[in-house]
């Protein structure tokens, strides 16, 4: 990424906190704090008298920045291009820089954005609706997988019956063999596994927590269901394809960052040390 250039009266200065020397920033920030070290409305800073002051966290380094606003604008454009975000909004007599490079949930009030999700409130709302609907789908379908028998009996019903379709209406030979010889003879542990997986899907997709990981789980679970039920009577093949693609879409858009718990906590995770925080940033 090219270095930002200062086009205003003052020179750009970005330096590592606690270290001497001065260097310009060459990679996108993952957080923006004020000088007290507090997150300013996610990742926002105040522009006063043509200056922006704040702390940027770049990977594991803290960088103190003091830039003329025009150079910051140039710099933001780089970030926008890389991560999708950015803009300025008027707050009384001051301009506010609104940037959310971590959560990718920007509020662009001026200038065009390269990222439709970043700039469009409607797009973010639609992504939220899709995520919540996917969560409700799983929530509703946990309701008929009743423990402890999960439909095992004579005649079979519920989850046991639908799982047995993998054998009766075979989709994929090896999977049918696995169901017939491993799953059906030991059905209760399998039933609990399905119940817990789908309960997790419903719970986490609904609130938008660790969303990308659960979107992957949703794709895997949809594949397993399709391998059982795709050729069952009166089933519509496209329903499983669409179900898979909905979760792929949730993964691609990192849907929890929009009106989800991920969006609220991700800036903190990004700025916290430790493996758990880094893992949460990756899977959210």
């Amino acid at each position: 990424m090219p270095r930002p250039r200062c086009s205003g009266r003052r020179t750009c200065c970005a330096r590592r906190v606690g270290r001497s020397g001065c260097r310009t920033s060459t990679s996108p920030p993952v957080g923006l704090l004020n000088l007290d070290g507090d997150i300013v409305r996610d990742l926002a800073a105040t522009r006063r008298g043509g200056f922006i002051q704040g702390l940027l966290s770049q990977g594991d380094d803290w960088v103190q920045v003091c830039m003329c606003h025009r150079s910051v604008r140039v710099w933001l454009l780089h970030v926008r291009a890389r991560r999708g975000f950015a803009g300025w909004e008027r707050d009384g007599r001051r301009d506010r820089m609104v940037a959310d490079a971590v959560a990718g949930a920007p509020s662009a009030r001026s200038g065009g954005s390269l990222d439709p999700l970043g700039s469009s409130r409607l797009s973010r709302a639609l992504v939220t609706v899709v995520r919540v609907a996917a969560g409700v789908l799983w929530i509703q379908n946990v309701g008929w997988k009743q423990p402890p028998r999960f439909g095992e009996g004579d005649p079979p019903s519920g989850l046991y019956l639908w799982t047995s379709y993998a054998v009766e209406h075979q989709v994929f030979g090896p999977y049918a063999w696995l169901v017939e010889h491993v799953v059906l003879p030991n059905f209760r542990p399998f039933g609990w596994l399905v119940l817990l997986t789908e309960a997790g899907l419903g719970a986490f997709l609904l609130i938008g927590l660790i969303t990308r990981l659960w979107a992957l789980v949703g794709m895997a679970q949809t594949t397993v269901i399709a391998l059982s039920a795709l050729n069952a009577p009166h089933e519509w093949v496209w329903s499983y394809v669409l179900m898979f693609l909905v979760h792929a879409g949730l993964f691609a858009t990192a849907a929890g960052r929009h009106c989800g718990v991920d969006g609220v906590l991700r800036p903190r995770w990004a700025l916290s040390p430790g493996r758990l925080s880094r893992w949460l940033v990756r899977v959210s």
Binding site: G37, I39, P147, L195, A203, L209, C259, V261
Partner: protein, 119 residues
Amino acid sequence: MTGLDRAVVALGVVSLASVGVAQARDRYQVLELRSWSLVVAIGLGLCAVAAGLAGQRWMAAATGGVFLAAAVLQVPVWGSGNNWLGGNGSTATLWLGLGVGLLTVGLADRLWPAGTTGR
């Protein structure tokens, strides 16, 4: 009101809204809420909204803990012949989500303090 508090309020509102959603029947039924489960949804939902409005994170975390306990209790009660709590697996799933969400948000200040600059 901070983003965390707004999240707590939103989770409480979801619990209250679930009472309306539970009125749907037949093929549109998403979850069951009867007898004590109604009390749980309304009572804990109000607690979460109050916690969010008052900015009381400990109260949000406590409400989340009770939601989680209710979810864990609901599953075996639903599977037994005597479902005195009145919900089903879908109810437990919803409460699991609300519980995890409220606990995570309520404990966020302890787990991931804002403004950590000690690197």
